[in-house]
């Protein structure tokens, strides 16, 4: 998952980026002013925008309005130091999905960020299930038919992204866009290698496994559609 962080306070941005990278393992891009944030948001490769309100050049509320007027559905989490219900109502009416008042709790920020991404992808529960797979996005653990599967962070992120979109074909480019920030060297063969490892690990979990990830040649990957996938929570 890739997050756009628009925050002008350098130290806060550093901490937020570090927390979002270290905790849920998101790829984080940082924009230091509203205009840069707007330019980045036009790439449409983000699963969440974390937006400060008081920004140089273009304030957060205007950025939000521009985003929504373009029809961009990306979830937006507002960071605000302003008090008062009026500004919050104004924010939510302008298309914000959630807000956090400064000084906020980092754990709460991460939880809200995860919830917003999940909702943005159409899932209600933090544990996603499909094809006998169970992905717990809180603990970042994967089980196949109850058997734990150990994955590297990148492999986990690929599986998490795919299981959020069970029937869709996800291109390598999309995976690259959503899993890496732009400081990363983009090479599609990196994705191929990770998907290959992911497949092996998922198949090693069972004695007689069915393939889980299909390769659509020249188009990308998707979860195998034979079994009816379900994103319903399994409690």
């Amino acid at each position: 998952m890739r997050v756009l962080l628009v925050e002008d306070e350098v130290r806060l941005a550093e901490n937020l980026a570090a927390a979002l990278r270290d905790g849920p393992g998101f790829a984080v891009d940082w924009a230091a002013d509203g205009q840069a944030g707007d330019d980045s948001a036009r790439l449409r490769c983000y699963d969440l925008v974390v937006l400060d309100l008081m920004l140089p050049r273009l304030d957060g509320l205007s950025l939000l309005r521009r985003l929504r007027s373009r029809g961009d559905p990306t979830p937006v989490l507002i960071l605000t130091a302003k008090e008062g219900a009026r500004s919050i109502i104004e924010l939510l009416n302008a298309g914000a999905d959630d807000y956090l008042a400064k000084p906020f709790d980092l754990g709460e920020l991460i939880a809200r960020a995860k919830a917003l991404i999940r909702r943005g992808m159409g899932a209600a529960h933090p544990t996603l299930t499909a094809l006998g797979l169970e992905v717990n996005t809180l603990e970042q653990t994967v089980r196949r038919e109850g058997v734990p599967v150990e994955l590297s962070p990148t492999e986990y992120r690929i599986l998490e992204y795919l299981i959020h979109r069970p029937r869709a074909v996800v291109s390598k480019r999309e995976l690259l866009e959503h899993l890496y920030d732009y400081n990363w060297e983009h090479h599609s063969n990196v994705i191929e290698a990770h998907v290959s490892n992911l497949r092996k690990k998922l198949e090693a979990a069972l004695p007689n496994p069915e393939p889980v990830i299909e390769t659509m040649r020249g188009r990308g990957y998707r979860l195998a559609p034979e079994m009816s996938p379900s994103t319903k929570p399994r409690l």
Partner: protein, 508 residues
């Protein structure tokens, strides 16, 4: 307002004043009428007395005796029974008197003309006319008869006159009281109507609150000569208050934003450190970051307090003032010297060119006192220099120029600080003195800063009655110009300053 002070009503006082004036005029009218009535009634009374006395003279007849005396024939006299009279002849012989005449001392017959006197008979006041008449006895005689002189005293009680006078005065008094009773409520009603614009103004002014500054004075108040200045004053005061209130609100909300952000940085730094197990080196580095984050918070708080101190110095509260800057040039030299190390670290050259001091004039006249505390003065200079240093390219230089402009009646000091850095975006130029305004965030990243430094400079300069301005050519650098009035050195003020009291408040 203290409880013991009774509210005083203008209307009440006006009514009281008008009624008092009316009362005084009524009393005057009563007294004048009393005088006039008395005068006119007594004149009529005197005429009547004369008439009656003449009637009495008419009753003096020839006594038909040998010595040609006269006698009073009282049978033909028809006079009011309460009147008194007495007739004597020239020799003082009594010719006759009224039946009720008793014990009245004879009037002085020597009086040649008419005279009036007062008498009291049976507790009645009488006005008595003393007059002389003459009777010619035997006018048919050769030689024209004999002239007999008689003196008549004729009195009539005055209570009729006084009753008439009292009646007239009572009529005037009753009229005046009636007038007072009618005009009192009438004035009250008219005043009530007349003060309507004032009440409308008050009720509209009462609607103004910190949440709603809308004040539209009623036309009735605006078009009333007496209320127009008040209305205008209220409008002006409200406008100024609203502006300053909004400024304060903006400042408070900006300050809250800055402080919350600074706290958020520290909090997130600490939470980030606790998110997972880390090595001792990582903890150490994290703690150092937290420390530097809290130092930034400390700096923001310190600068906000400086700003608040400069702006809110209450002149009415007497307190020991810090020593004023008695020589701006000397403070400038010291501050530049203090900052030379920082300049050297950034490989920037700072040089002062002082046209004012270069002229070989009398040393006492070259002292440049400014009406700022010495600490604030060096704060102003060092903030400006640090700002210039932050925005200077390495290997460039900062030019500091100090000039003195003399007018006919005042002298103005001009300090220019010119850096050769990347300059300021014309879009940002109007905002650089705004509180918490920070230019390009990428610049902030490298240089830090609270966004309060230049706001403090502006506050210091304006407190001293000076100005501060900035001009910039993008990519060529910026020039800050401070203009300060020279202080008039008043010896009486100088004596207030404690020589060692100034170092306590100095920041840092």
């Amino acid at each position: 307002m203290r409880a013991s002070i009774q509210p005083r009503s203008i209307a009440f006082r006006l009514i009281a004043a008008v009624l008092a004036v009316e009362l005084v005029s009524s009393l005057a009218v009563i007294f004048l009428s009393l005088g006039y009535e008395r005068h006119s009634h007594f004149r009529a009374f005197d005429v009547m007395l004369h008439g009656r006395a003449d009637t009495v003279i008419g009753a003096v007849q020839d006594a038909e005796d040998a010595s040609d005396n006269v006698m009073l024939n009282q049978a033909d006299l028809h006079l009011p029974s309460e009147d008194i009279y007495e007739v004597t002849d020239a020799a003082g012989r009594l010719l006759g008197r009224s039946p009720n005449w008793q014990g009245v001392p004879a009037a002085s017959p020597a009086n040649p003309g008419d005279s009036f006197s007062r008498m009291t008979i049976n507790d009645r006041h009488y006005r008595v006319l003393s007059t002389h008449g003459s009777r010619i006895v035997d006018p048919a005689d050769p030689g024209g008869g004999k002239l007999r002189q008689v003196t008549i005293l004729y009195g009539s009680p005055t209570y009729h006159v006084w009753r008439a006078i009292r009646g007239a005065v009572e009529f005037y008094a009753a009229g005046s009281i009636l007038l007072l009773l009618v005009t009192g409520p009438l004035i009250a009603w008219l005043l009530h109507r007349g003060l309507l614009p004032l009440r409308q103004l008050a009720s509209l002014a009462a609607l103004v609150s910190v949440n709603s500054w809308q004040f539209s004075p009623p036309d009735s108040a605006r078009t009333t000569t007496e209320l127009a200045p008040l209305t205008q004053a209220i409008e002006n005061v409200l406008q100024r208050l609203e502006r300053s209130f909004r400024q304060q609100q903006t400042f408070v909300s900006d300050a809250a934003h800055e402080l919350k952000t600074a706290v958020a940085v520290i909090k997130s730094s600490l939470q980030l450190l606790g998110m997972k197990a880390r090595t001792a080196a990582e903890y150490k580095a994290g703690l150092e970051r937290c420390l530097s984050d809290s130092l930034r918070l400390e700096e923001i708080v310190a600068k906000m307090l400086i700003l608040a101190r400069i702006e809110n110095q209450d002149r009415s509260v007497p307190r020991p003032l810090p020593p004023p800057a008695d020589d701006f040039a000397e403070i400038l030299r010291q501050t530049v010297a203090d900052l030379q190390t920082i300049a050297a670290l950034r490989s920037v050259e700072m040089a002062v060119s002082n046209q004012t001091l270069s002229s070989p004039a009398d040393p006492s006249s070259t002292r440049l006192p400014v009406p700022i505390a010495a600490d604030d003065c060096s704060l102003l200079i060092s903030n400006l220099l640090l700002n210039a240093l932050q925005h200077s390219e390495p290997q460039s230089n900062i030019e500091i120029r100090l000039t003195l402009e003399s007018n006919s009646n005042s002298q103005t000091l001009q300090l220019e600080i010119e850096d050769h850095g990347d300059g300021i975006d014309p879009e940002e130029l109007p905002h650089v003195f705004d509180r918490f305004y920070r230019g390009d965030p990428s610049r902030t990243r490298s240089t830090g800063g609270t966004g309060l430094g230049l706001a403090i400079c502006k506050a210091v300069a304006e407190k001293a009655g000076g100005t501060i301005a900035i001009a910039s050519q993008p990519s060529q650098g910026a020039t800050v110009t401070v203009r300060l009035p020279l202080a008039n050195e008043a010896p009486s003020q100088q004596s207030q300053f404690l020589p060692e009291g100034g170092g306590e408040n100095s920041p840092g």
